[in-house]
Symmetry: C2
Subunit: 240 residues, 2 copies
DNA sequence: GCAAAAGTGTTAGGCTTACACCCATGC
DNA sequence: GCATGGGTGTAAGCCTAACACTTTTGC
């Protein structure tokens, strides 16, 4: 039995209206020539996340992963023809404004229009997309997709592409600001040639993942009259 | 490198006010004699979930897992002394009213008061607890902990134990009923010897996991005037 | 001035929490 | 009758979605 890792790298680079994944063509049988998620072997001295960052940097020049997260183990006995292979799949994200030089046999693919892939890699990609969609709603994960500075409408395009349906810039700004996720930089972007009011530039308050809307329901008893009690962990107790 | 599985089995059996995990004493070095999560090897013809159900049934007579879910891969290079071991950890749940006969070297432990464990198994247990807590809030996962029929106050005790803080029976009933998670059976339980109104008996509407509160925010545009739009997936579009 | 893009004000509705109050039973 | 546990009514608060309206720019 072999244990491998498979890396999903997502971005909306170049075209901000699409969510893309980096695939390469398999150089070996089985499924030689088909598009597949980049992957490779774990070195003895590294954990899986370190391994993924190293391999993506070495093999496809992707050095700017802003977030890496484990998706899970794919272990169906016949998911790969021939000897049993158990794969651990990851979701990696990079900002929309970086565009690494990728090798000849590697290309970005629109997640909503995947080519035929090797093995179960299409399933892995779709599971990664669901994970991303969910976490955009209850965490600050947008930081991993956005440039360091951005306008609200640019951020709206990113969220709309990742979620798959239109998002209102008005409410996006309000929700993320109230949660303390978004911070104004004070600067503005120049308007396009069609005119329009110059857009304010924002940045994310934190560049590590945080849960910003932890409890759908069954929240712990309110701690005094603190309005921000929703942002606390389940272990928090009333101060009194 | 070895790939193993580690099984976390949680319940609130016997004492409904505590959340418990099944541990056994290691029979081999390293860390011989310490409490550890049950685990074992994957057979060639089974995937990981099948493997876990089989091993728990064979080795510790736990045959009634109502839910099994992957936690993730634990891969830190030195998490186990000696040769490298990468473990895939699982969360398994069973109802509070079953009490399997477990072997001599196996025992239930209160999750809030763990003994010294082998390796990083205490970390795994705590991560499993966090997963359970989160999913109780936005899914119907309570079905996996509850008996087939139960009173609201019994269910409240289960939720309170798992979440770690008191839950109101009033609101638990209302929220789960409105979401369609809970269904009245029409029957009632006899009151205790201290008297009191007989409690109505309920059951879970479904016995497979479902997301009941999918979007904290950034919901898709409302589909007509359907009040249940929150229960739809992100791919749903307006009907018109 | 006018179109275009960005941002603000305001309203409405959904959902959960909190709490007061009514119900049914044993003793 | 009264204590005890169970269940309902209701009001308040928070939050997001929707949309009208204002602001600032290019031409």
């Amino acid at each position: 039995m072999r244990c491998t890792t498979r890396h999903g790298v997502y971005t909306s680079s170049s075209d901000p209206a699409t969510l893309r994944v980096l695939l390469w063509r398999r150089a070996l049988d089985p499924h030689i020539g088909r598009w597949s998620l980049p992957g490779g072997r774990l070195r003895p001295d590294e954990d899986t996340e370190t391994s993924i960052r190293r391999q993506l940097a070495e093999k496809v020049d992707v050095k700017t992963l802003t977030h890496v997260e484990q998706l899970g183990v794919f272990s169906a006995p016949n998911r790969v023809p021939g000897p049993r292979v158990v794969a651990t799949a990851y979701l990696g994200l990079m900002p929309s404004d970086v565009d690494p030089v990728v090798p000849e046999d590697t290309a970005w693919h629109n997640v909503d229009d995947l080519p035929r892939t090797a093995f179960d890699h299409a399933d892995i990609v779709l599971e990664a997309r669901e994970r991303l969609r969910a976490k955009l709603s209850y965490t600050n994960l947008g930081f991993a997709l956005a440039p360091k500075q951005f306008t609200i409408s640019a951020l709206r395009d990113l969220y709309s592409a990742a979620l798959g349906y239109p998002i209102s810039a008005t409410n996006l700004q309000r929700v993320l600001s109230r949660r303390g996720v978004l911070v104004p930089t004070g600067r503005t972007a120049a308007p396009g040639r069609a005119g329009g009011r110059p857009a304010a530039l924002f940045r994310f308050a934190h560049r590590d993942i945080r849960v910003t809307d932890p409890f759908a329901v069954f929240r712990p008893p309110a701690a005094s009259s603190n309005r921000r009690s929703r942002t606390r962990g389940p272990g928090s107790k009333p101060v009194t």
